[in-house]
Symmetry: C2
């Protein structure tokens, strides 16, 4: 009798367990394969789109080439040479980026060392963490202290007629570095890259390189210490430069550039091979007319952080060229007028203040578009205060207002609610208008002959 009760209980429990298992199976199994089906359907859809694009006579899928493995998840910042998108309205999380890219933070110790070695107070872009990350800057400082000079390398992709304020930052900073260290500087204009990546004629890429060079020269670079070169011209002037490109192209596989830059199989071969061309100027052996036979002059590259993938690749192959790993100083992005979620872009006129803008345009753009960190009403603002973390006028002031004390006072008074957004806008306008006016005046004076001087491969004084 007891055994029977036991048996029945056991059976009932068995039924319960099986029922539960069945429910689980019915629920889970189709869900699992639904996921796979969904993925396949999505892939199917994509393939059909590409196919229809190709069959209707489009180019071989260029638009699709940048989308692939590099896609960021919704809560992650997207940072690569062709796309910068922050997940939050506070902008990119740069500390996270340092971890992700494996670079080092520019900290107080490095700044102190900088000041000790150079005898110069660090530039406000360094002091304020706008240049926030580096690779091997300590080696550059140690070498410099020991009397070993380096060279500077920076560049620009000439994709638009007019440069905007954001484009200026690395060049202004590089000019300051050149003055402080008294070292030669090479500036690459990647007109070949723009030809590969944009729907532009080659002649237009070359013309844009020339126009942009005038803006760069107008910043006051010393022609005796500076060599500027558009790839489409220079590649045909210096066999050693091409030879270094070839050396790098032998060391880097398609799998690697696919991983680093997110290229896919429908990419033109020019895009795939291009990273070697941006890498080559990191080596002094690419410029025998400047460095003679010295293949191991250290190189320091100031650039925006989105260019770091090129130089991670470069550092990886340096030893195979008998060269040194280039050192880097990374700057954060210059935010769009509309807010720090994206960087200023030349392709969106309202997001940018161009070096060709009139004084009136500068004023209007700032007043109309510069995202405010203020409160909804004056009363609320006076009570709660403004937020400098998101206020674009304040952000721009950190780039262009050199006076630390004044900037601190503005921050304090804005945060306390004493100052309104309008005051910050006016302060910014008052700084930018004369700055841009001075630039425009200097640029008018740059002749085509000046440009050719900078373009000519020659000895530099250093």
């Amino acid at each position: 009798m007891e055994r029977l009760v036991e048996k029945a209980d056991k059976a009932e429990k068995g039924i319960e367990a099986l029922t539960a298992e069945l429910a689980q199976v019915l629920k889970a199994a189709p869900t699992a394969s639904n996921k796979e089906i969904e993925d396949l359907r999505a892939e199917n859809e994509k393939l059909k789109q590409r196919l229809s694009k190709l069959e209707t006579g489009g180019a071989a899928g260029e638009e699709l080439s940048n989308e692939s493995e590099t896609k960021a998840s919704a809560d992650e910042d997207e940072v690569n040479p062709w796309d910068v998108q922050a997940a939050s309205n506070k902008g990119i999380d740069y500390d996270k980026l340092i971890v992700k890219f494996g670079s080092s933070k520019i900290d107080e110790a490095l700044l102190a060392r900088f000041e000790k070695v150079t005898g110069h107070k660090p530039h406000h872009l360094l002091r304020r963490g706008i240049f926030f990350s580096h690779r091997d800057m300590n080696i550059i400082l140690n070498d410099f202290e020991a009397g070993k000079k380096f060279f500077l390398y920076t560049g620009r992709g000439p994709s638009s007629e007019a440069m905007h304020l954001g484009h200026l930052i690395p060049f202004m900073f590089t000019k300051w570095l050149q003055d402080v260290f008294d070292v030669p500087l090479v500036i690459q204009l990647t007109d070949d890259e723009k030809f590969f990546f944009k729907d532009l004629k080659m002649e237009d890429c070359q013309r844009l390189a020339l126009e942009n060079t005038k803006d760069i020269i107008a910043l006051g670079f010393d022609v005796n210490k500076t060599f500027i070169f558009p790839d489409l011209t220079f590649m045909g002037q210096c066999p050693q430069f091409y030879q270094n490109v070839v050396r790098i192209q032998k060391c880097v596989t398609y799998n690697q550039v696919k991983g680093i830059f997110g290229f896919d199989d429908s990419c033109p071969i020019g895009k795939i091979a291009f990273p070697a061309i941006q890498a080559a100027p990191s080596f002094s052996s690419s410029f025998p007319f400047i460095f003679g036979d010295n293949k191991t002059v250290p190189c320091l590259i100031p650039c925006a952080i989105d260019q770091d993938p090129y130089f991670r690749m470069t550092r990886d192959v340096a030893h195979r060229l008998g060269g040194l790993k280039p050192a880097l100083l990374h700057c954060s992005f210059f935010p769009a007028l509309q807010g720090a979620q994206t960087k200023m872009s030349a392709s969106d006129a309202n997001s940018s203040i161009f070096l060709t803008d009139t004084m009136k345009e500068i004023k209007n753009k700032i007043n109309k578009y510069a995202f405010s960190g203020g409160q909804a009403t004056v009363e609320e603002h006076k009570e709660k205060g403004g937020d400098t973390d998101v206020d674009i006028s304040y952000q721009y002031l950190t780039f262009f207002l050199e006076d630390d004390a004044r900037l601190a006072k503005i921050k304090q008074d804005y945060t306390s609610g004493e100052l309104l957004s309008g005051f910050l806008k006016k302060e910014l306008i008052d700084i930018l208008q004369p700055m841009v006016a001075a630039h425009q005046k200097a640029r008018v004076l740059v002749t085509d002959e000046n440009v050719q001087q900078f373009f000519t491969p020659r000895k530099l004084n250093f």
Copy 2:
């Protein structure tokens, strides 16, 4: 008690039913969705194939569409720039290759037209079908007849110190074409390609290019009509050449070069981008110092058939550069001493007669290695006769013995059994020894200064 038994029975049945249902679900449910997944996978595969075919063919891919997959099956000849392997011991089936590559056979009509337009009897390499295939040679002849001149382009990948007899063929023929048509000639030495594809130092690739150039010059090319250029030097001397390389690299996708050349994702990016560098000399705009502003000087490329993939690609993109499709004359392979199944290779010393071989080496190699088409015994040979289709000495005579009547007589007497293999070997030795000796004598006279003359970008007389 009975109720308990009933309860237990019911429970046991419940368990059975549920177990069965569960088994059913576990078996059936995934099968149902597996079916859908399989269908989707199959559709995706089909779409991918269509896509790759389209991308391989390019937008205007009439040339490439003939040959989407170059991989040979077991009974098919393998012919690509890096591998030539015949399925039969009669060598490559060249008629099949014409169909596969989509080129045209050089027939009697074309030869007659050649003789009429030039006033010259076609070269014996043409008459004997060693140059057997062409693209657009009729256009070249029509243009020439109408007074429009073209230029010749051929090349060499400098991967070995010493060139062998097989390397001579396209150059000997090209020299004859230059004499007949009186046109300028450009010769590319792809030292960059050899650097990418071989385990060689860059300096060695450059040195080999220089050594090979001496052999080429020794053939008697006119310095006033001939420009020779190693890529690693010339790329750094002529921006317009690089610019054409870049234009081509924008038109050709990774999918395309993968389809044409069989590259895979582990290839260095230099290999992947290289085909554009071999394509660029097909356009007169790559040589402004020779052709001035004339971007549409027709180009005729004499080359071995394994180089055709490069020029199919070139012809596909020509219109996007504002250039003309290059015309081609394809020659068959110079067989190895061991037989026609593979071509003579510099990396196997015993398969090749080098231009540096001594008279004794030439004699010994032919006597020892040249594959015989004769029978096993003298008696059997006299009875059955020799086979000129496989006899290497006879094959070589078709390349080097100019006298048609004598060659026909040899063939007749060998086939009838009257002549033994030994006679053919002796005949060949008697031709090759003085030919190679004369070459060696001429080569000694070529100085480094001569080489530099040919290497200098300059105007040519034509």
